[in-house]
């Protein structure tokens, strides 16, 4: 009887420790490549943001593959010895820590705790244009909503100007 009770208490403690280590399952708004995605079940912990690989694909376009975390031609291998920092399996799903990935690819992250919003900035690969002298490409609308890219003007000299109403 005594034994059973202490086992029960122990299990309870273990369970609580487990839950607190995993953080709470909450809603998160993830802004990636300037595109916002609502994620209904995220696990948030100090410096960690765990989402399912389904949500990873939805929010970032990246997928978990044997060779690493990939989107089209772009692939970031995960360090083998530290794989559990990025990927884990629980409740029948595969989870991915987007914050650990951001650290891996030197991506700045800004966070608003009250609004449960995470903004993922330019990864190091997206910032390399400048050191190679290649003009970073962008795609933006004009006043009538027509879309233009800087690369549309390849073959011409371009004077790129920024201005503002303020």
């Amino acid at each position: 009887m005594k034994w059973r009770m202490s086992i029960g208490v122990c299990t309870l403690f273990l369970l609580m420790a487990c839950v607190s280590a995993r953080g709470e399952e909450t809603h998160a708004r993830i802004i990636y490549d300037d595109h916002a995605t609502e994620v209904s079940s995220a696990n948030v912990d100090a410096g960690q943001l765990w989402i399912t690989t389904v949500d990873l694909k939805r929010a970032t376009g990246f997928a978990l593959k044997p060779q690493g975390v990939c989107r089209d031609e772009l692939c970031f291998p995960l360090p083998k010895s530290r794989e559990q920092e990025f990927v884990r399996n629980s409740s029948g799903k595969t989870w991915f820590d987007l914050m650990a990935f951001a650290r891996l690819v030197h991506q700045p992250v800004a966070h608003d705790e009250a609004l449960a919003t995470w903004y993922f900035g330019l990864r190091s690969d997206q910032r390399q244009g400048l050191s190679s002298r290649e003009a970073p490409d962008f795609t933006l609308p004009d006043m009538n909503g027509k879309i233009h890219s800087l690369s549309d003007f390849r073959g011409k000299k371009v004077l790129l100007l920024t201005w503002a109403s303020w």
Binding site: D112, L122, F138, H148, K157, L160, W163, A164, S165
Partner: protein
């Protein structure tokens, strides 16, 4: 903008395109009337997220970048005035910049204003993690503001301003979305004064040929 239309008329047949991008969080609502008034035939784009400033590490407007036919940067970010409307404030004469631009359009790679690779790299490389993080904080502030939470956006704008105090865009755009005195305890004029005046606010483009033309530095 009308000034650039005149330059465009003069140079567009020499294979120049002007791409003018409005850094305005409120987009067409704020930038639209200016574009409508100027009615440009060059490419005028709306950039609510300040994407171009982020990609090119720009800190102020107006900023100009020269890009050649192959998509390679020839001269990076610099103050780009088309006329002397702000001369009283900036002390900057627009003529040298426009003459340099004409020279490059005429001579291309042979222009003395094409910046050397070494100088370009020096000017373009940003490794400061604070500056990189500042861009993310500013962008988060914009997203939060656009989702209807001005009050919640302010701490992120402030953090961006703290992390990258050189960016005037972070200050001025944020001030324009709110009451600078009330929410930031300062004004644009006070900030310019504090930074050392208009010469710091609008650094003159370095158009001395020695600064741009040679690919190697002179021997010591």
């Amino acid at each position: 903008m009308p000034g650039w239309q005149a330059i465009y008329q003069q140079l567009k047949d020499k294979n120049l395109e002007i791409v003018a991008v409005a850094q305005d969080t409120n987009g067409v609502q704020d930038a639209g009337p200016w574009i409508t008034a100027a009615n440009p035939t060059y490419t005028a784009l709306i950039d609510e997220r300040h994407v171009v400033s982020k990609l090119y590490n720009m800190v102020n407007v107006p900023t100009g970048v020269w890009i050649d036919e192959q998509g390679i940067i020839v001269r990076p970010n610099e103050t780009a005035f088309v006329d002397d409307r702000f001369k009283n404030f900036s002390g900057l004469d627009s003529a040298p910049y426009l003459n340099a631009l004409r020279d490059w359009i005429e001579k291309g790679d042979k222009s003395i204003y094409r910046m050397s690779e070494e100088r370009l790299r020096e000017k373009l490389t940003v490794n400061d993690p604070d500056v990189i993080l500042a861009a993310a904080e500013f962008a988060l502030g914009e997203h939060v503001y656009k989702s209807g939470h001005l009050h919640e956006a302010i701490p992120h704008f402030k953090e961006a301003q703290r992390l990258n105090p050189k960016s005037w865009n972070y200050k001025r755009q944020a001030y324009a979305l709110s009451d600078a005195k009330r929410d930031y305890g300062t004004t644009f004029v006070d900030e310019v004064e504090k930074a050392g005046g208009s010469k710091v606010y609008y650094p003159p483009p370095d158009l001395t040929p020695g600064a741009a033309g040679k690919d190697k530095r002179p021997q010591e």
